[in-house]
Symmetry: C2
Subunit: 204 residues, 2 copies
């Protein structure tokens, strides 16, 4: 990976143009930097890797205890955007074609700590992703495709995932998400950095 990175800096960055720190951070660089999404010959999305080093945007929680023990999504969702698409978002305030957003499912591990009662992250349960691609999803709202790598037993992850039917995700995302099928209303990092450049990266 390091060798690939240095090669990329040399040919894409220093000799070929400009490279940004965020782009340099990704572990999913293609030679064209177009997208972190990789598909196999069956049009299945290959499980993204290294996303805990992507840009975190927020962690919504709808716990069981506030939903009569029957929450549709009882776990924490750690949500990340890939670094190159984050760079585009800071500049344009839009999700570029090729954007990958992942949510990692994490259990509510405990509900009490020394500082009080609350919610604290336990163990990883799963991984889901949405990919924006005009070429692959020309008819879907916003050209987004949705993928689930979560195993049925919430242990381990599938290595590939086929696109889910629109009824599984977009039917809720499209009418409720604040921008382009993404719930930026729940993601302060995206809201704060929207077309804000470096001012949105914190502390500036």
């Amino acid at each position: 990976m390091i060798r690939n990175f240095i090669t990329s800096v040399l040919f894409t960055g220093l000799l070929g143009g400009m490279i940004t720190p965020a782009q340099a951070a990704t572990t999913c660089q293609s030679s064209t930097h177009k997208s972190c999404a990789k598909f196999n010959s069956k049009s299945e999305l290959i499980r993204p890797t290294g996303y805990r080093e992507w840009i975190y945007v927020g962690a919504p929680l709808t716990p069981n205890h506030l939903n009569n023990g029957k929450a549709a999504f009882p776990e924490f969702h750690n949500v990340y955007i890939d670094p190159a698409s984050w760079t585009a978002w800071k500049k344009s305030g839009k999700f570029r074609d090729g954007t990958v957003i992942v949510k990692e499912l994490v259990s509510v591990g405990s509900k009490k700590t020394f500082s009080g009662n609350g919610y604290f992250m336990g163990e990883y349960l799963g991984l889901e992703a949405m990919v924006k691609s005009k070429k692959r999803f020309p008819k879907a709202a916003g050209n987004w495709g949705f993928f689930r790598f979560t195993n049925e037993d919430f242990k381990g992850l599938k290595t590939v995932a086929g696109v889910l039917p629109e009824s599984a995700c977009l039917s809720c995302h499209t009418p409720n998400a604040q921008q382009d099928n993404v719930f930026i209303q729940h993601y302060p990092v995206l809201r704060g950095a929207k077309a804000m450049g470096e001012a949105g990266t914190g502390g500036k």
Copy 2:
């Protein structure tokens, strides 16, 4: 920043040694890469910047409604570690000298959404940091110093912060934190990557 980055790659990375993607991502590189913490002549910590592009480790929450309306920390805490120290953590499972961990305070913005009742992040309220430095905090537990940039009105941030007395933070961190005064029991990203190398970065 881009200029500094390219200079750094040239002299520190390609000519002088090895650079990792995580190190390249930091917006707080010094010429020696020793620490993201910068102090002024009064030994005050200069507010870190760009931390929303650091490595997110977890988001604990102790909301008012679970603590009789009087939570000590009623907001979300988005917690990040600086990239170079994350690289060290992945390798050694220890917090290196120079580590900076920040927590950004974010309000509970709403408690209801289309998918159920819960907790959703609202607006930024403040910023706190802990810095591990044997030189600056030789007598403190773990050599950690704690700093608060949060304004009294929870709007805006202070530009510099003096070290807090140990009674303000360490008195709780030291006896309760799982490792070296850091609550890794609440941070799945740190637990999962402890001395795990790239296997801890997600999806591998």
